[in-house]
């Protein structure tokens, strides 16, 4: 398939672009297979806007005869002979929540452009996406892809080796399609047993280790729901695996991200939960976390509320409430807090799962590690954590992030779990401005890249798919790029101080705030606050210099 089939009009001149925080500019619009390119014609102040078509969530065209506006904006353009032609307006709503408006002379051109954008931004063939074409100038193909591998991670954690081993039972993805080829499991469990456990867990996601708490040797495991079904099937290997995990200790916890009722209902569909009688040393805690469509709708409502400029205070707060987004943030953080509490305060190992174990499960296991583990709070540590717990652990990025809040398409598998994670991390960052080694800018960058990216990191739904498409050979890795010296500085937190303690966030409603930096990103007010962050950075650098010179 050729992109050019979809491009009827590649170039249009005299287009007026309006974008937030900028004055309107007039210039040339150009559509390519992956990009929308706009450059103004003023020679002195050459402004360019390069937008990945993949970043476009919705295109709205209106055939307004707005010539009057058009010429009042640019009175000097009056002597062009377009006065007789009509023009059209395209509003482009991006996945990073930016809204752009293009005024295009000529109805036909306008419709052509709109159609090209609509088609090209929704192409779902991964192998033809931009990351496969992107060649950054400063990276060579020999750079290893990714920051770490399960093997390296295991090797580095020597304290694990006594009781845990690296299993390659999933070498060819035959046991679990969404797991990486190597996972960490109890030493006392053989690969054959693992295969049986995998059959007993949804999607083959048998319990694997995701975090080892050095302080007391407890662990966090994650998996998916057991397939007990209506007639309470059992799997002795599964029970054994969990028993081995707690060893001599008298108890372990299972945090189920569904409510007790939902877990009961899941049995009718072949799923289920670990019953008290079969797993007598494990105590189940149910925490209801919203998922799927509900979460996506929540995002849509929130973005809609943020886009509304009505001056009435009442409506703002009720819309904010009505979106329920902050409630989801609160639930996620308190569940993660509960998980961390079990491990750190109570000294018991925990297994986390919901149903598939690829969404809420990863969300709270990631957050809990940030709360507990100082090594996850550096810039590098955090990116490694995301690589491990989201990318390698099989969060289906492609399904979850194919559309954002503006899209008119019917919600299918979209769900802003990763965005919710970033929001929770932001809440942590706001409550502990010194404890995290990265900046808000990093969270914003990740939020953007998850939906549309030059890099291959967030492509596909699992390691298996990435392997099949040779993503690691043919694309570049975002995490590596973020750690480049040129990029690194803006993503580090100048106030960061290593802190060995757990950071316990407050989840009181008054302590949680709307993430203005993301949801109101394109407003002047947020710009002010960004300037303040820059200011802080400069102050710290200056004082650092002074301390050096003293």
């Amino acid at each position: 398939m050729e992109f050019s089939e979809h491009i009827k009009t590649a170039n249009v001149e005299d287009v007026v672009l309006q974008q937030p925080l900028h004055t309107s500019i007039k210039g040339t619009l150009c559509i390519t297979g992956h990009h929308l390119l706009f450059s103004d014609r003023e020679e002195e102040s050459c402004q360019q806007v390069l937008l990945l078509l993949r970043n476009i969530d919705a295109v709205e065209k209106s055939s307004v005869e707005n010539l009057l506006n058009y010429f009042s904006l640019f009175p000097n353009a009056g002597h062009s002979n377009r006065a007789t032609e009509s023009s059209g307006t395209i509003v482009i709503k991006c996945k990073d929540l930016r809204v752009l408006q293009l005024d295009i002379p000529g109805m036909e051109q306008c419709l052509n452009i709109a159609q090209s954008i609509e088609t090209l931004s929704c192409l779902n063939c991964v192998a033809e996406m931009y990351p496969f074409f992107y060649r950054p100038s400063n990276a060579s193909a020999q750079d290893p892809w990714g920051l770490s591998t399960p093997e390296r991670h295991y090797t580095e954690m020597e304290e694990l080796h006594e009781r845990w081993r690296l299993s390659t039972v999933n070498q060819d993805y035959s046991v679990c399609t969404s797991y990486p080829p190597a996972v960490i499991v109890p030493k006392a469990i053989g690969d054959d047993a693992l295969k049986k456990v995998a059959k007993f867990r949804q999607g083959g996601r048998f319990p694997v280790l995701c975090y080892y708490h050095k302080k007391n040797g407890t662990v966090i495991l994650r998996g998916s729901q057991p397939l007990t079904g209506a007639n309470r099937k059992r799997c002795l290997e599964d029970e054994l695996l969990l028993q081995i995990v707690i060893g001599d200790s008298d108890r372990g916890y299972i945090i189920d991200t569904r409510s007790g009722q939902q877990a009961q209902q899941a049995r009718m569909m072949g799923g289920g939960f670990e019953s008290k009688s079969c797993y007598s040393n494990w105590k189940r805690l149910h925490r209801h976390m919203e998922r799927g469509k509900t979460l996506q709708e929540s995002l849509i409502k929130l973005v809609e509320a943020c886009g509304d400029k009505s001056p009435n205070m009442d409506r703002w707060l009720s819309k904010l409430e009505n979106s329920k987004w902050l409630s989801h943030v609160q639930t996620a953080m308190s569940t993660a807090g509960l998980l961390a509490e079990c491990v750190e305060r109570d000294g018991h190992s925990v297994l986390v799962h919901g149903s598939e174990g690829t969404d809420s499960t990863l969300l709270i296991s990631t957050l809990a590690q940030l709360i507990l583990d100082p090594s996850c709070r550096t810039l590098e540590g955090f990116l490694k954590l995301l690589e491990r717990e989201f990318v390698q652990a099989g969060h289906p990025f492609q399904q979850r992030c194919s559309h954002s809040a503006f899209s008119h398409a019917r919600i299918q598998q979209e769900c802003p779990v990763f965005l919710l994670l970033l929001d929770c991390v932001w809440q942590l960052w706001r409550q502990f401005p010194l404890a995290l080694g990265f900046s808000e800018a990093l969270l914003l960058r990740l939020a953007t890249e998850a939906y549309a990216s030059d890099y291959g990191t967030f492509l596909c739904n699992s390691d298996m798919e990435r392997c099949a498409l040779q993503v690691k050979d043919k694309t570049h890795c975002l995490f590596r790029a973020l750690l480049q010296p040129s990029e690194r500085e803006q993503y580090t937190n100048p106030l960061y101080e290593p802190n060995e303690l757990a950071i316990w966030p407050s989840v009181h409603p008054q302590s949680l705030q709307l993430w203005r930096g993301y949801f109101l990103r394109w407003t002047q007010q947020t710009r002010h606050l960004e300037l303040v962050q820059e200011e802080i950075r400069n102050m710290v650098i200056e004082w650092g210099k002074m301390a050096l010179s003293c």
Binding site: S259, G260, L285, H286, R287, H288, C306, K309, P311, N312, M313, D314, W316, L317, L320, E321, L326, S327, Q330, T331, S334, G337, L338, A340, E341, R345, G347, Q431, F432, L434, A435, E497, N499, E500, L501, A502, I503, W504, S506, V507, H508, P509, Q510, S511, Q513, R516, L520, Q524, Q525, H528, L529, E535, I536, M539, W543, M546, A547, L548, S549, C550
Partner: protein, 656 residues
């Protein structure tokens, strides 16, 4: 003294609302004429809690239970103190005593007038001259050929609630002033609040005209004309009526009302719609009620905030300020502001406009002057509004709370524009209510003069000035360009947040989270000290060697800032096991000792010293440094034993 029925109760439990009964500290409760005190029995900490009686807004006695009788003291700074006494009789006596003590009937019962004023006579006299309003008027460029000081109100002849010295348009004759004041509610005629030197436009204030449905007054019309004339070249003035139009119209039936645009040439009338003191009182009460909820869900919180209407009112006040500031700075048009009596909403609108217009009022000293001018001198009824004496509860309203909150909201939008931090605003708030100083006593200048407050009490401002290091915003940039002149805040609803620092005492009682501002302050202090040390050493070296030295750079390892290594509210509040899950015992997770370690702050010098100079004693330097930040590090995390004592509370913490 005669009101104290029992001066001392032993074995009293002081309950912390966020921690539950079992964590209560046991101690002795004392009552004095001015304070309630609670002193812990624990000999190690011996923590003392002092409470001025004038800070108590209500005393509630709960029904006696087997554990004892509970007394709830709600304070004007929104703290809530719960005491549990074993004997019902003690509780009854304390309750009765506090009821009387917290509602003084005469000014002389108040703390600031209860001690001998001549102990620090000089200090006292000095304290009152700290704020010089005339100097501030001079700073803004008056008197000049447009505005002059008027003696019309000397000895408070025409308006009792105005200051004796006022600035009025040069062209306004005494007859015009007298006539205008007779036509204005309570005689509060138009007078200058702020003069904007760049545009020559002015902000003036007054009360509503006594126009009724058709009344008019030539002198008042001439007065407004004079205000306009004092802004050369302008063709009209804005008259900002800060009330909702409906309220203003209703006032006409009572012979009051607003300016009729047909009678006044060259005015443009503009209504803002700030609600009256009764609406505001109720609105704030709803915020406080919300704070008393044990474990609100996100929905409870947002609904509560919305239903209180509080942020809407804050926005209305800020909108008034923005309107005035725009008229003055952008259009160069003078503005006359009034409400009904011109001492509540008018004070809010005028002072916010000043903050927006003039960077000086965003400094610590400037804020003091502004409050002294627009609030204290112009007769804001402090004693009535903040219930200094037992009086009509309908007169009480959080008017200045709202002004302070507007300033706080602005500081959230412009973090670099204000010299002071949130603590400064909270300190002002506390002292408006506390009556520890004479500054806010009484309802107008005349009353304060009659009471001879300057001879009998101290002013609060020098005290706050002395503590200014605690009140300084490390991010303040006096010369940052966007903040240089006029602030142009965004008043879209999403820009307003709840002022957690003022209202949320539940959260404040747990150790604070990390704060960027604290960090920056500590760092700045430290680098200042380093700099001073450097200069000292340079001087000493040059004295020793007899010639100026070229200082070569010594590499010093970046020190680890040893400030506040605490990690958050400990124990974390509501991550609890949900009550909803079946067969669940309500256990909470055990404690974990996580005493924050404070690292040895000693700097290690590395590299070669360029010079061997004997008197350099590094220990001296660094012991100094330690003390510089000791205040911060001492706040570090306490052990988390509380965790196990929270069972009873935690059951209630289920999240939505």
């Amino acid at each position: 003294m005669e009101h104290i029925r029992t001066p001392k109760v032993e074995n009293v439990r002081l309950l912390d609302r966020s921690k539950g009964q079992r964590k209560a500290s046991v101690g002795t409760f004392y009552l004095s004429a001015t304070h309630s005190m609670f002193i812990e029995n624990n000999t190690e900490t011996r923590k003392e809690t002092w409470l001025l009686h004038s800070m108590i807004s209500s005393v509630e006695k709960l029904p006696t239970t087997p554990t004892g009788s509970q007394l709830i003291l709600r304070c004007k700074d929104f703290r809530v103190i719960q005491l549990l006494m074993q004997q019902e009789k003690d509780c009854f006596d304390v309750h009765a005593s506090l009821l009387r003590l917290s509602r003084p009937e005469k000014y002389s019962e108040l703390y600031c007038l209860s001690f001998n004023p001549n102990i620090n006579k000089e200090e006292r006299q000095e304290s009152w001259s700290f704020i010089d309003l005339m100097a501030d008027y001079k700073r803004m460029g008056v008197p000049n050929n447009l505005w002059v000081v008027s003696a019309a109100n000397s000895e408070y002849r025409i308006c009792e609630t105005y200051p004796s010295e006022l600035f009025i348009p040069k062209s306004a004759s005494p007859t015009v002033i007298l006539g205008s004041s007779r036509f204005r509610s309570r005689g509060r005629f138009p007078a200058l609040s702020y003069f904007h030197q760049d545009t020559l436009a002015a902000v003036c204030r007054c009360s509503q005209p006594l126009s009724g449905f058709s009344g008019r007054c030539q002198e008042d019309e001439a007065m407004l004309q004079a205000v306009m004339k004092s802004n050369p070249g302008s063709a009209y003035i804005y008259v900002v009526d800060t009330r909702p139009k409906l309220n203003a119209m209703a006032n006409r039936a009572a012979g009051k009302g607003y300016e009729n645009e047909d009678h006044y040439t060259n005015i443009k009338l503009h209504f803002i719609g700030i609600e009256n003191i009764h609406v505001m009182r109720n609105s704030q009460q709803k915020i406080l009620d919300m704070g008393e909820m044990r474990s609100p869900s996100m929905t409870d919180f947002l609904w509560g905030l919305e239903n209180s209407g509080w942020l809407k009112h804050i926005k209305a006040i800020l909108d008034a300020g923005v309107f005035i500031a725009r008229a003055v700075a952008d259009e160069g048009v003078s503005v006359l502001v009034h409400c009904s009596d011109g001492w509540d909403r008018t004070a809010q609108a005028c002072s916010i406009a000043s903050v927006l217009l003039d960077p000086f009022y965003r400094t610590i000293k400037g804020m003091m002057l502004l409050i002294e001018r627009d609030w204290v001198s112009f007769g804001h009824k402090f004693s009535h509004r903040y219930a200094h004496l037992d009086g009509d509860p309908k007169e009480v309203s959080p008017v200045i709370d709202q002004f302070l909150e507007c300033v706080w909201q602005l500081s959230q939008q412009f973090p670099c524009a204000f010299e002071f931090n949130e603590c400064f605003l909270i300190a002002i708030h506390t002292h408006v209510y506390s009556c520890r100083y004479g500054t806010f006593l009484g309802n107008c200048q005349k009353e304060r003069n009659d009471m001879r407050l300057q001879e009998r009490s101290h002013s609060v401002w020098p005290q706050l000035w002395k503590d200014r290091a605690d009140f300084t915003n490390p991010l303040y940039k006096a010369e940052l360009s966007p903040c240089r002149a006029v602030l142009r805040p965004n008043t879209t609803p999403y820009c307003f947040k709840m002022w957690k620092g003022l209202y949320n005492h539940v959260e404040r009682s747990t150790p604070p989270c990390q704060s960027t501002a604290d960090f920056l302050s500590a760092m700045r202090e430290e680098s200042q000290q380093l700099e001073e040390e450097l200069t000292n050493h340079q001087e000493r070296i040059s004295a020793l060697t007899g010639k100026p030295i070229m200082w070569e750079k010594v590499m010093v390892k970046r020190r680890t800032w040893h400030i506040q290594r605490h990690s958050g509210p400990d124990p974390p509040s509501p991550y609890t096991i949900p009550v909803t899950s079946p067969a669940q015992d309500h256990r909470t997770f055990g404690p974990a000792n996580q005493n924050a370690t404070v690292k040895d702050p000693r700097l290690t010098t590395s590299g070669d010293q360029p010079m061997q100079v004997k008197p350099l004693n590094t220990d001296d330097i660094f012991s100094d440094l330690e003390s510089g930040v000791a205040g911060l590090s001492s706040r570090s995390s306490s052990a988390g034993e509380e965790a196990k004592d929270r069972e009873t509370d935690e059951i209630a913490f289920t999240t939505a």
